[in-house]
């Protein structure tokens, strides 16, 4: 094991909360059902529930950025198993790796974390010292099983789980790398919030990056997700737009979110290529149909829900309400 590998047996607290899930109080469009789950467990304090991903067995992982935890929610009864990620932890993003484990951009310890799906054991790989305070953001696996990640302070990196080698590069335009995604064709892309651009990691061996300029200046791209065709959908925080770039012909299309003051935070494209967005201005989750170009809104029943990321499985869109410490599930196609 390399020196920078830490085995953090910080423990899995089986602090199961069994708060029953709640149904939407407000009317929901036909064909949809909205369910909320309490993200808090006894003694957890404020959780700061944010990024979510499917664990592959019907449960959902979610990050507790405020209390330094990764959590595993069982939607059947609302039970939550809590994994303490270590002193000072403040996890931002979580994805499920090809090994079935949860892989976390653990900003508080400036490390990549792996949580074993069977025993919830935590392993940490800190970034090299010269990249302290990377402000780790989001990760994705490439087709070869290497984990790529972004850091808002102007870095992106690659971690090879097999050899535990980590490479980190300075982003070409400095601060801003935020969301990252992989297309079905196997290409990797990230967006820069501070730099307002899209970037392709076009050489996965050397890490070379190619910047693609969006049509809207200073758009403030937060997240990016691919549809089945490899088109890239981008949530624009500053402009309040959702944009789409098609790498096949270099084209862009842009739509402004409804309302007077939209703020597009996150984007997720479901398996049917419908686009799910979160709009802080409207305090709502939006579903955008690229065929009809219509938005459908799912406002939260509480103020300042602040859903910062979405993910899901076929028939279910999931998000973490960081402002209310709840996890939301929207069943669609009912």
């Amino acid at each position: 094991m390399r020196r920078r590998t830490l085995l953090a047996l910080t423990g899995t607290a089986l602090a199961a909360s069994h708060a029953p899930p709640g149904q939407a109080a407000a009317p929901v469009p036909p064909g949809y059902r909205v369910t909320w789950y309490d993200a808090r467990t006894p003694g957890s304090g404020r959780v700061g529930s944010r990024d979510v991903t499917a664990a592959g067995d019907g449960t959902m992982w979610f990050c507790g950025q405020r209390n330094g935890t990764l959590n595993r929610l069982d939607p059947k009864d609302g039970a939550i198993r809590v994994v303490n990620l270590g002193p000072g932890a403040a996890p931002h993003g979580v994805i499920r790796g090809p090994d079935g484990a949860a892989w976390v951009t653990e900003g508080g310890q400036n490390a990549i974390a792996r949580v074993d799906p069977a025993d919830h054991r935590v392993r940490l790989w800190p970034l090299p010292e010269r990249f302290a305070n990377a402000n780790l953001n989001t990760g994705v696996f490439d087709p070869a099983g290497r984990y790529w990640f972004t850091g808002q302070n102007g870095i992106y990196g690659r971690f090879e789980p097999r050899t535990e080698r980590m490479d980190v590069w300075e982003a070409p335009r400095g601060r801003g790398p935020y969301g990252i995604t992989r297309t079905p064709q196997g290409t990797l892309w990230y967006v820069s919030l501070a730099g307002s651009h899209l970037a392709q990691i076009e050489d996965l061996a050397t890490g070379r990056v190619r910047i693609v300029e969006p049509p809207t200046p200073n758009q403030g791209a937060r997240r990016v997700w691919s549809d089945r065709q490899g088109r890239l959908w981008i949530s624009e925080w500053n402009s309040g737009n959702v944009s789409m770039h098609d790498p096949r012909d270099g084209s862009w299309k842009v739509w402004r979110l409804p309302g007077e003051r939209p703020r597009a935070y996150s984007v997720w494209v479901d398996p049917a290529d419908k686009v799910w967005l979160t709009d802080f201005g409207a305090n709502a989750i939006l579903r955008f149909d690229p065929v009809t170009e219509q938005f459908l809104a799912f406002p939260s029943d509480r103020a300042s829900a602040n859903v910062r990321q979405m993910d899901g499985v076929d028939g279910q869109a999931w998000g973490g309400e960081s402002g209310t410490d709840r996890i939301i599930r929207i069943d669609y196609g009912l």
Partner: protein
């Protein structure tokens, strides 16, 4: 002799204080660059980014930059004015002070870091 020494100490104290303030502001600039600058500018006239420009924030109303679209919780706090102690409390746990803040969970854990950032913003604003 003792009087002379005391006098020398008294005369030196403000100079030391200013020097410490300079050091703190320099540290604050570095901490600001590492922890805040991804979203916030601190130079007067710079356009807002994902967060508002913080040049001149001390002495400004909460949610007081007309060029920025703030979180509802900050718009609702208009009337309060940022001063150094309030800004230090905010930096310790922003969401504790303003629950539902769009900014997210980005506080500074070390009191010295918070003080240094506030000193940096004070100097930037020309307030001494």
């Amino acid at each position: 002799m003792i009087r002379l020494a005391l006098l020398a100490l008294l005369l030196a104290a403000p100079v030391q204080g200013e020097a410490q303030g300079e050091v703190k502001a320099e540290n604050g600039a570095a901490i600001f660059a590492a922890r805040c600058a991804s979203c916030h500018a601190a130079e007067a006239g710079a356009p807002p980014g994902p967060g508002p420009n913080l040049a001149g924030v001390i002495g400004r109303q909460v949610g007081g930059d007309p060029g920025f679209d703030y979180s509802p919780v900050l718009r609702g706090a208009a009337g309060q004015v940022w001063d150094a102690p309030m800004l230090e409390r905010f930096l310790e746990d922003p969401e504790e002070m303003f629950p539902g803040l769009w900014m997210g969970d980005n506080g500074l854990r070390a009191a010295a870091d918070r003080a240094a950032v506030v000193q940096f913003l004070r100097r930037g604003a020309g307030a001494r």
